[in-house]
Symmetry: C2
């Protein structure tokens, strides 16, 4: 069987930065060429970053992307890389004279010899969860098959392999020797198992090995976790790339020789896809040695979630051109975990913490905040909110919830004042359990540009804190989070002796009900039937249903669960459905 050496560039593009992304493709292509690759590939829409959202409607951006593609082809040749085909994703348009002429498309192209050799567009467009591609793109209608060193390589983009039929079936019909899919597939907990099973199934359906090349990095709420895969048609895993890291993955594959009597160019295949053959030439190459699988270890659950939160935070700060962050440190577990994430993401020297005690703050809260700062090495200061509190209480009659929220808002205002003065971005400490039931103060603890744990349920917050401390211990380092922060009962400390459990069920119970109601869209009756106390379910359902406005006002944060409060859960604010 002829051999192909593929170089898979699992990299992190920046949305909108065509010049930077082109440079990155060039830089990685040089590295890849140095490895003797026959074919170099990059992720979905690598030239523009992903997702571009309404930038797809801006003609100047589409034209910029198309021009950058042509320019990149020339630069590759100028750098002496003209001989190796490079597959890159970009934002294109429907070809003139076709049904979709001029409309934006999620495209990929093959560059070689200073030219754009061929282009095609994604066939299946995802329009669920975090995806809205029917808004932005029109579908492609061809199956591109490259002949290279005597092997037929079929090309696909992301969703093309997530739906039945389409390019996977067409690849089988065309008898290709390899299916290469470019992806921008966002992270979600446990998704790696889903992906691996899917890739195995599709390889079997296509009847050939499948290369699944994913993006890494993060864009607003989406984190891309990499973990590119190569799987044979028999389901053998030949390669698994690292998670949350850029990587050049080089793999030698022995592949079936292309049939000389294969279906001709123009043949109509599954779902009406038109076979588009592109002959890149090159004599078949002999296999030098048997292929050793390169299967990296996968991170365990906590490590993986934590890495996603760190990557999301780092990318948001850096890609927005900022350097440092500011966090209100209450001594509680949420802000402590956020501080640990921030320190891991951008370094303690770029993390600023403020303790903002009020008359209701316990001594242990102040001590725990200071201890966290000591352990992590972040910048720390203390500013009392007592004078501001007194000024408001002197000006208006405030009691109960108004008095409680006031304290939280005074802290939010102080954080924003420091941020405006010194130039950090504020990180919001809210967790998903709080957000779900609206147990937070609008313009108070919800203040911030990014919420690193907004999609993390409170029970998982505890697990991640313990996990991060255990990691440090295993490495002989000081655990960042004070033990007392982890073991004390959670409290907002906005009135004397307040505990979260005064207002909410125990977090174990709350999170179990939320998982069914929020992630599972189960109704009230179904949750009660599953054995949860009716009065708790009714209370949780009522709280969740009336907190949509607050959730919409919350800063973005990395998505880690099947339904985050952001891109993929969109309830009406004004909503009178009160039966679950």
């Amino acid at each position: 069987m002829p051999n192909l050496r593929l170089a898979l560039c699992q990299i992190d593009p920046w949305v909108g930065d065509l010049a930077r992304n082109s440079e990155e493709v060039l830089r990685w292509s040089k590295r890849a060429a140095g490895s003797g690759a026959d074919l170099i590939a990059f992720p979905e829409m690598v030239l523009t970053g992903y997702p571009v959202e309404d930038l797809a409607f801006r003609g100047s951006f589409v034209e910029g992307s198309r021009a950058a593609l042509v320019d990149l082809a020339a630069k590759l040749r100028a750098e002496g890389l003209g001989d190796t085909p490079v597959v890159v994703g970009y934002l294109g348009r429907g070809e003139p004279g076709t049904r979709y002429a001029g409309k934006p498309q999620n495209c990929a192209a093959v560059l070689r010899g200073g030219e754009v050799v061929t282009r095609f567009a994604k066939h299946f467009l995802p329009n669920y969860g975090v995806f809205d591609e029917y808004r932005y793109f029109v579908p492609g209608d061809q199956l591109t098959v490259l002949r290279l060193h005597g092997v037929d390589v079929a090309l696909a983009i992301c969703e093309d392999i997530w739906q039945e039929g389409g390019r996977v079936a067409a690849t089988g019909q065309a008898g290709a020797g390899l299916l290469l899919s470019l992806n921008g597939s966002p992270y979600e907990r446990d998704k790696d198992d889903v992906r691996l099973e899917l890739v195995k199934r599709r390889a079997a359906e296509a009847g050939c090995p499948l290369v699944y090349l994913n993006m890494v990095g993060a864009q607003d709420e989406l984190v891309f976790d990499g973990e590119s895969l190569v799987v044979t048609e028999d389901g053998e895993l030949l390669l698994r790339g690292p998670q949350f890291e850029e990587a050049l993955l080089v793999v030698d594959l022995d592949l079936p020789a292309a049939a000389e009597d294969g279906l001709p160019d123009g043949t109509v295949l599954a779902d009406g896809l038109k076979l588009t053959r592109v002959d890149l030439g090159g004599a078949p190459k002999e296999s030098a040695a048997p292929v050793a699988p390169q299967v990296g270890e996968r991170l365990d659950d906590e490590a993986e979630v934590y890495a996603a939160l760190v990557e999301g935070t780092r990318a948001y700060v850096r890609k927005n051109g900022m350097r440092s962050v500011l966090i209100g440190l209450s001594g509680g577990i949420d802000s402590a975990l956020v501080a640990a994430i921030a320190v891991d993401a951008i370094g303690a020297e770029n993390v600023y913490g403020v303790s903002m005690p009020s008359r209701y703050s316990s001594q242990h809260s102040r001590d725990d905040a200071a201890e966290l700062a000591r352990r992590t090495g972040l910048h720390f200061r203390t500013v009392s909110i007592a004078p501001m509190f007194d000024a408001y209480m002197g000006a208006a009659e405030l009691t109960g919830l108004a008095e409680e929220n006031l304290q939280s808002r005074l802290r939010g205002t102080l954080l924003m004042a420091i941020s405006n003065q010194e130039g950090q971005i504020v990180l919001a400490p809210g967790n998903k359990s709080e957000l779900a039931v609206g147990y937070s103060t609008l313009y108070g603890d919800s203040v911030g540009a990014y919420g690193p744990i907004k999609d993390v349920y409170k029970t998982l917050v505890f697990k991640l804190a313990r996990w991060r401390n255990a990691q440090a211990e295993a490495r002989g380092e000081v655990p960042p989070i004070p033990e007392n922060t982890i073991v004390k009962p959670p409290s907002a400390e906005l009135r004397p002796d307040q505990k979260d459990t005064d207002s909410l069920p125990d977090y174990d119970l709350l999170d179990a009900v939320l998982a069914r109601y929020v992630e599972g869209d189960e109704g009230r009756d179904a949750i009660v039937a599953a054995g949860y106390p009716a009065e708790v379910v009714d209370r949780v359902v009522r709280l969740v249903d009336t907190a949509e406005y607050k959730r919409r006002q919350y800063p973005p944060g990395p998505k880690v669960s099947p339904k985050n409060f952001g891109r993929d859960r969109r309830l009406p604010i004004t909503n009178r459905w009160r039966q679950g």
Copy 2:
């Protein structure tokens, strides 16, 4: 030609409130039956309200809607209305055994004799602008034609008549005598002209009169303006319902008799739609008298926009179960217009204003705020923010922008404190020009649950203020907005002698550039080529591109323009595209 008397119920459903909406359909059906109607019709998804967004994924809600439909049919008969067919929109599911079995659909049904006589689903699903129906629904695949009193009435839902082909073409093929379309079509400035032209064109294509029944009311950011239409196949306008008002519209139409040798049930028509004939019986009715067109006057541009803002505000307050609103009154034109809208929406007795002067507030600002309160009769108080300001300045070193924003945030915090204590919802006064360029303070003047003028450019704010005052004068009433508020130069008054023009171009110029960049998605070069100063365009483009985060955090408000900062303009926050 046989005659049909149609009763079109242009009403306002509440999203999620199945019980209320069912009661409303029953109540309006009684009124309609009293007019001797042969067929009673309601808007798109009247049983659930529109749009339901992710409620479509909640099984309990879909089942609730289906059950409410069956229950409504029984109630109609129990109330003695069993003889008259009633067409209602609801949320349904794909029929068992079909390709889309069990998946949510945007449906309508005909109720008669206590039964659901027939059901069908929307064929074309809109997935642009404010619509995301590909996320939620699967399409219907039939053309339902009712035979009633010897006339064939074809049925459609909203988008079905906005796209080429589909049910309009199929109606022509089926030779129906009337096309009845149920709509939930949101308001947008100048859209009534677009709608009328569309309806005329589609009536000609269908070869029969077209009845366009629209919803009224508002849901979160969408306002439904009513203005139902009846147009003949020759383009004659027979009926135009009122804008922004519930109405029972009764119209007698002489229509072609149904052909006895028409296409049979099951015939496949345009776009694969299957003809579904439903015989409701009834002898042909003689025309009693020639039909007099009932064509109401349309509101002029300012009146229409103002009515949309009032309706949006009223609906948001009421449908969220609130009674009163709170507004920070600066003496400036934005808060003054918001106050006038609120007073018109829910009455002066439910509107609370607070003047919150700082050391930089001019005497005229305080006077203008008090004068506005005097003229409108809203509740008014003054609370100085000086003590709070001094407390913060004593605790942290704040200068420049940090000091300016602090004042705005102290006001936001005070508004929220009063709101929490007294129970009003806060209205945010920001206009679209400010929001576009980020000329507002996060957690400051952007505080609020609803922003009545967030989709209104500043130049239009001035026009609406003058228009509202002129209306009052024409009615012999006191104009609500003090003349000085309208004529003085806009200022945030956050530092001595500050003017908006210190930071921004003149609003005439700014709004002209924004209209091209935001509404038109024109690039920087195109705007400069159209004759706008390059340095202004570059500045505006840079400001707009970097303010997306702030805009996302802004409260919802009524959409009046082609692209509001909410449902239908979705740019990445992290966006490095800086060339327009």
